[in-house]
Symmetry: C2
Amino acid sequence: MRRGDAEALDRVDPVARMRDEFDLASGGGAIYMNGNSLGPPPRAVPEAISDAVVEWGKRLVGGWDEWIDLPARVGDRLGRLVGAAAGQIAVCDSTTVNLYKVAASALGDRPERDVIVGSAGDFPTDRYVLQGLAAATGRRLRLVDDPDLQGPAEDRLVEAFDHRTALVCLSHIDFRTGRRLDAAAVTAAAHRAGALIVWDLAHSAGSFPVRLDEWEADLAVGCTYKYLNAGPGAPGFLYVRAEIQDRLRQPIWGWFGQAEPFAMGPRYEPARGIASFLTGTPGVVGLRAVEAALAVTAAAGVERLWAKSEALTSLLIDRADERLGPLGARVVTPRDPSQRGAHVSIAHPSAWPWCRALIERDLVVSDFRPPDVIRLGPAPLYTRHVDCFDAIERMADTLAGGVDDRAPLRRVT
Amino acid sequence: MRRGDAEALDRVDPVARMRDEFDLASGGGAIYMNGNSLGPPPRAVPEAISDAVVEWGKRLVGGWDEWIDLPARVGDRLGRLVGAAAGQIAVCDSTTVNLYKVAASALGDRPERDVIVGSAGDFPTDRYVLQGLAAATGRRLRLVDDPDLQGPAEDRLVEAFDHRTALVCLSHIDFRTGRRLDAAAVTAAAHRAGALIVWDLAHSAGSFPVRLDEWEADLAVGCTYKYLNAGPGAPGFLYVRAEIQDRLRQPIWGWFGQAEPFAMGPRYEPARGIASFLTGTPGVVGLRAVEAALAVTAAAGVERLWAKSEALTSLLIDRADERLGPLGARVVTPRDPSQRGAHVSIAHPSAWPWCRALIERDLVVSDFRPPDVIRLGPAPLYTRHVDCFDAIERMADTLAGGVDDRAPLRRVT
């Protein structure tokens, strides 16, 4: 492939016009390959935030008549992007707090089972939350290991499910390698073992046509600041399947989860439906940002975005094989598109100084993930085929020119 | 007192100029007496929010180099307003989630004690969180009752503390009546009984010169959208006394509470200090709003704000006695300024339709609190003495003219 071929692909890209929804000029000269860590602001989001602030000033406390429904209303909109019928998603709290709530509620539903199954290679906050819940409830946390950094294959995971498994908690798309699990199959296996399952959709929501209802998932959590572009630390979300909402009880009994919060009654009576998973007063500005950001992804269509992602990741893999392979770099993301998500990870012994040099020289913004991986997260809403082509060229030139190890940069996914 | 006397007080008010920091024109013709529920936007806050969005677009993921310190940095600034030395406050999550975290950590520190003491009249989310934790840990929640709606007096509360008390959780200022507890004395009594204590500062932070360190408080939580004016659902805060930070362990083990989050190591090792009480990725836009809002209160000085609050609440009480007393209304807030906070509550059998009529006729925006209380929350940053005078006049005219009961309005504190 030549650069002209990438340009030709951009000319026929059906979602190419979505790039105009973003102001990317302010990011400098680097190619931004980190939309899987923090998406840039869609133009609609600063507007929505500014409108929310005006509304606050105008309506003052009276604004709550409308704001109070935001977690569920924005949740329903998000549901359309992840295959969840209305009434099953709330946008609230952080992903970590949401994982805590749904995982704890699942454990409460399986009191006689004493094992939690996760993946040793999963994102730290997931493992830590599960570790804390295991310690608090006297359970064992079994983390299926991941020797080849590919994310545990479905078979190895499913072998770990048995009659003692209370809860399975997994990332749909592995944060390091981009490996994507067959969620429907793994969910079915968890159910056959009598366990509940939580899916972490941090790297799936907005990038892949997730089908929570079709998978028969029990629970899910995810974030809105990666492919959904709602801003740094924007609220997370949680999904609870309709049929189990009134049976599960989450541990943080706050007034927003109460059946009648304004009656201010003496005892906590959980609301019916997804509202019982709310806790405290929701952040209105953050929710308005999520609402506006979701509209951008919805306008593009998540199926079309995914089709473009497949093309972008294929291009990255092909170019990396050709240009980076001879320099000792190795693509660790599955080559079969049915087994990967929207990002591509490349291992190299000098991944850390290489990543840092690319950022410092204003060439490519990407992420380092221990021990030796660079992640490239092209976001189909605004990343072009030619950006992927150029990013690999810049990476090859940089690595070929030599990189030095120095002190660590801090980076947040 | 005549209206001219109130105007004269405004002319000599040393914090009168702070009113210019707010754009109050957009709120309509009503007198806003609900700053204890939701403060209006200080002019600096929309600016700070807009700057944060620009920073997001410019710095993208690189912004985290600075954003990561926001919860603690903004916490230190807030600490100066509530008498806490640096390193003891984090601004994060919601007040409800923060209460859950600190209360659970306190219970973990007193495993052999099986009673939690609170107040039956406390704000619902506080009672509900404690109820949930009592259920989860097999403890008894003892809520000291509050028959006269004055908030339990210190003596009645302290009687409830004994060798079985693991945790005492109380609001410094009662959300309905404005009664203020002698926090130093109650804290000392809790400590004599061997219990830990959490103070809810929702109605104190920014209105009263709280002295957390001086009180020797163990733990505290509060919100930033009332007297601190950081916007609807802005992040809450938590305080953990330095000496107990490394002993207490909170239940939500997220990556932001980890000693080295970016090492992404296999096991959760809590950070040292207040950072161990963080959970997930903090909301940057909300934190920037809090930071800017705190600067406004800091510029006025919380001692001066409190002096003005005393004057405003005295004026409200005097005028209510004179104008509303003959109409059957009764001030339920303590008349002794040393026993009250910054709001004044007035009971009347028709409080609900009265409050609604005042809002619908664009006269006075206040809060109804069950069963029969109207709360008036003059905020010394922007409420004038003449506003308090006029509010009571409007309330008297409205009540004298007759009010009808109808369907409920929803209101959020």
